[in-house]
């Protein structure tokens, strides 16, 4: 195979140039990159709000911002991060890029709908940004009624419309993935030969399709209530504010599984590759993804434990919430078993994977605390809950996203990132993260309420620690921005399979050609079959 001065091969990045070729593309790989840019922007906007929050919380008094402004800060932090960053993140970037290649297809089932999904996210984001610039929303990302419908004088409708539109982006992506996975697998790619990354996204897509419409209709009802005062959530007119909470959380709880399942899919790939071993209990891991999708719909009432929801319903939801932890635990056990007697190496993606397993486990175990009705009465609406979900969302999902980004970076760009800088960033993120959020468990247990910016002085030490950790975390997030961008132009060229991983995406060039494969593959082996990969990385030009 000749290398030397290689003529740059035609791939999806250089086959056409110009703004139009990107904005009107139907190539799932380019759309993935469009998403990547968009969600990165939204991430840093959400991060800016987080920065302001943490700076304000350095002192027990409310001295940086007024209470009203503080309400807007945490609301917009939540909305940006959840709806415009986390929910699209892994599916719309890594999922879009990889799923067709992983199953041996040339694109998704509906490429134009894929592009439409991106535009919907952008439009929704613009609505939300407009609302933020015009003054913001102060209801909390959960916009409970009747405050959001009757009493708040902030930009509820504009923000809600933004979320509504972004929701359709999510629905269409889910629809696209479901049809693609059902219909477009290469010959020989049976369901149980698919990478677990694909299984995870299939389960996620089912949730997106079943759950997102409910929040869409809830937003419509909030809109009607706010504009026409129809009384649907207003007790004075016979309505029930808790009904809003049921409708809201029926989606928003499964939404957290939309955020974590793709991350788990990434981790399966990373653990397998960097222990050079098939995932232990493949069928169980695939099944647990589906189980999480199903069970995740049955537990939403655990957000309503103190809402005047009936105690009997609370008992049922509490019990089911314990049950939903089981499939997640199965995954953690299986990942650990995969490591046993594996040939483990510590490249950057693996560092993120280890970080994920540790932090997700802590986050998940504290989930059991809050799932218990009795304990939740004590810790609900405190920083304990805040710490719990940040461990999962940030310590879990974002670390998996970064791990996956680094792992597939050579495939996406054809370049390798600088390994030492990347490892350093991973460690910085891990350290910064724990310093930010572990004190919050203690704060919450001691009674620090969430969404408050004035607090008793005895909590200050922990808050200062948390803010210091956050600044370290911020550095950790900024570093990859710099070195990844640098590597795109100056990094060393990567071959088709620099990690000697299994999976169809590694059998094509880096970056891939426009139509993914020169010839569509025929699959004859199981997933994670390491006997088929070369012992050494051969460099191809």
């Amino acid at each position: 195979m000749t290398t030397a001065v290689a003529k740059e091969q035609e791939n999806y990045l250089n086959n056409s140039y110009g703004l139009k070729s990107w904005l009107l593309t139907r190539d799932h790989k380019r759309i993935a990159l469009l998403y990547m840019a968009t969600i990165t922007l939204f991430f840093f906007i959400g991060g800016a709000f987080a920065t302001l929050i943490r700076v304000e919380l350095l002192t027990p008094q409310g001295d940086l911002v007024s209470s009203d402004i503080y309400n807007r800060l945490f609301t917009m932090h939540g909305i940006m991060m959840i709806f415009f960053f986390l929910i699209p993140s892994i599916p719309a970037t890594l999922g879009n890029f990889l799923i067709p290649m992983m199953i041996g297809a040339r694109d998704l089932a509906f490429p134009r709908i894929n592009l439409l999904s991106w535009y919907l996210l952008v439009v929704g984001g613009l609505f939300a940004l407009f609302a933020m610039l015009a003054g913001g929303v102060d209801t909390g990302w959960t916009f409970y009624t009747p405050y959001s419908t009757t009493y708040s004088n902030s930009w509820v409708i504009a923000t809600a419309l933004g979320i509504f539109v972004a929701g359709f982006s999510s629905i269409l992506t889910g629809l696209n993935f479901i049809v693609t996975i059902h219909r477009m697998r290469a010959p020989g790619m049976t369901w149980f030969r698919m990478p677990l990354f694909v299984w995870a996204h299939y389960a996620t897509s089912v949730i997106q399709v079943l759950g997102t419409p409910v929040i869409a209709v809830t937003i419509i009802l909030v809109f009607c209530e706010r504009v026409f005062h129809i009384g649907i959530f207003d007790p004075a007119l016979g309505g029930d504010p808790v009904l809003f909470q049921h409708l809201f959380w029926f989606y928003s709880h499964p939404a957290v599984y939309i955020m974590i399942l793709p991350a788990m899919g990434v981790i399966s790939e990373l653990i397998s590759t960097f222990s050079r071993k098939a995932i232990f209990g493949y069928h169980f891991v695939a099944g647990s993804s589906m189980a999480i999708a199903v069970f995740g719909f049955l537990v939403w009432g655990h957000h309503l434990f103190v809402s005047t929801q009936s105690v009997y319903a609370g008992l049922v939801f509490s019990f089911l919430s314990y049950a939903v932890a089981i499939p997640s635990a199965i995954k953690v056990f299986n990942w650990t078993a995969t490591l046993y007697k594996g040939s483990v190496s510590f490249e950057t993606p693996m560092l993120y994977a280890f970080g994920f397993i540790g932090l997700f486990t802590i986050g998940g175990l504290t989930g059991l605390f809050v799932a218990s009705l009795g304990i939740d009465v004590h810790v609900t609406d405190t920083y304990f809950v805040v710490a719990h979900f940040h461990y999962i969302m940030v310590g879990g999902a974002i670390m998996a996203f970064l791990g996956g980004l680094h792992f597939w970076w050579p495939k996406i760009t054809g370049r390798m990132y600088p390994e030492q800088w990347a490892r350093l960033s991973a460690v910085i993120i891990f350290v910064g993260f724990n310093f930010t959020f572990f004190p919050q468990f203690i704060l919450g247990y001691l009674g620090m309420p969430r969404r408050y910016h004035v607090y008793p002085p005895e909590f200050q030490v922990l808050h200062v620690m948390s803010t210091l950790g956050a600044s370290v975390l911020a550095v950790g997030y900024l570093l990859p921005m710099v070195y990844l961008a640098w590597s795109w132009k100056y990094g060393p060229l990567a071959g088709p399979n620099p990690y000697r991983a299994t999976g169809l995406e590694w059998k094509t060039a880096s970056p891939p050609p426009l139509h993914n494969f020169d010839r569509l593959p025929v699959v004859t082996r199981e997933a994670y079959d390491y006997s088929t990969v070369p012992e050494e990385v051969t460099s191809v030009g």
């Binding site: 629905i171 629809l175 479901i178 049809v179 399709v209 079943l210 759950g211 997102t212 419409p213 409910v214 869409a216 209709v217 809830t218 419509i220 009802l221 009607c224 026409f228 005062h229 129809i230 009384g231 649907i232 207003d234 004075a236 007119l237 016979g238 309505g239 029930d240 009904l243 049921h246 409708l247 029926f250």
Partner: protein
């Protein structure tokens, strides 16, 4: 399209949930409010929509058999019946407006002490039939597009997928109305 219909079920489902909760909470007021709707017009409109489903499926069948003219005729009939339905709906809404049953500042429902629950009934009525009507309008747009293409001879026995899909959508919207009719028009009619 089937996957899309799953999302539609959950979409309308949220409002059905709100309806169920409030009807269980205020059964008598809901019954009273229901009786102020004209059940005969409602039933007739239901029949209109069922007829449109019949013409729709005949249209799909014509497409399967490659019969261009029959396809076009059936789509026209479906479209016309759809417009009849929407026209009747508009008439009904206007009646409600005149009777001050439209939720908002001028709402007043005679015969109940608490106006709130009555307003809830009508809020749900307008929201759900409104959402349904919106879907009908989209359906009309789809039918028009199918009509134009079928006149151009685009659909054959081998390729009639858009007709098939359009049909699924139309039937689904019909099914929603099949549930809306008894839930809004037929509550405890025997009392009146």
């Amino acid at each position: 399209m089937w996957v899309f219909l799953i999302t539609e079920v959950m979409f309308f489902g949220g409002m059905f949930l709100a309806y169920i909760v409030y009807r269980a909470a205020y059964p008598d007021i809901f019954a009273l409010a229901s009786s102020s709707l004209n059940v005969y017009i409602g039933a007739a409109n239901t029949a209109v929509l069922l007829c449109s489903s019949f013409t729709m499926v005949l249209g799909v069948r014509a497409a399967q058999l490659g019969r261009q003219k029959a396809l076009a005729i059936n789509i026209v009939l479906t479209l016309l019946l759809g417009f009849v339905f929407l026209g009747v709906k508009a008439f009904e809404w206007r009646e409600k407006f005149i009777e001050h049953h439209v939720p908002g500042p001028s709402f007043h429902f005679a015969g109940v002490a608490m106006q709130g629950p009555a307003q809830l009934f009508f809020s749900l009525y307008f929201a759900m039939t409104g959402l349904h009507a919106l879907h009908m309008v989209v359906g009309a747009g789809i039918m028009t597009w199918l009509l134009i293409n079928s006149i151009r001879g685009k659909y054959t026995a081998e390729y009639m997928t858009p007709v098939d899909i359009g049909g699924l959508y139309w039937h689904f919207v019909d099914i929603i109305w099949i549930f809306l009719f008894p839930l809004f028009y037929l509550i405890d009619r025997h009392l009146k």
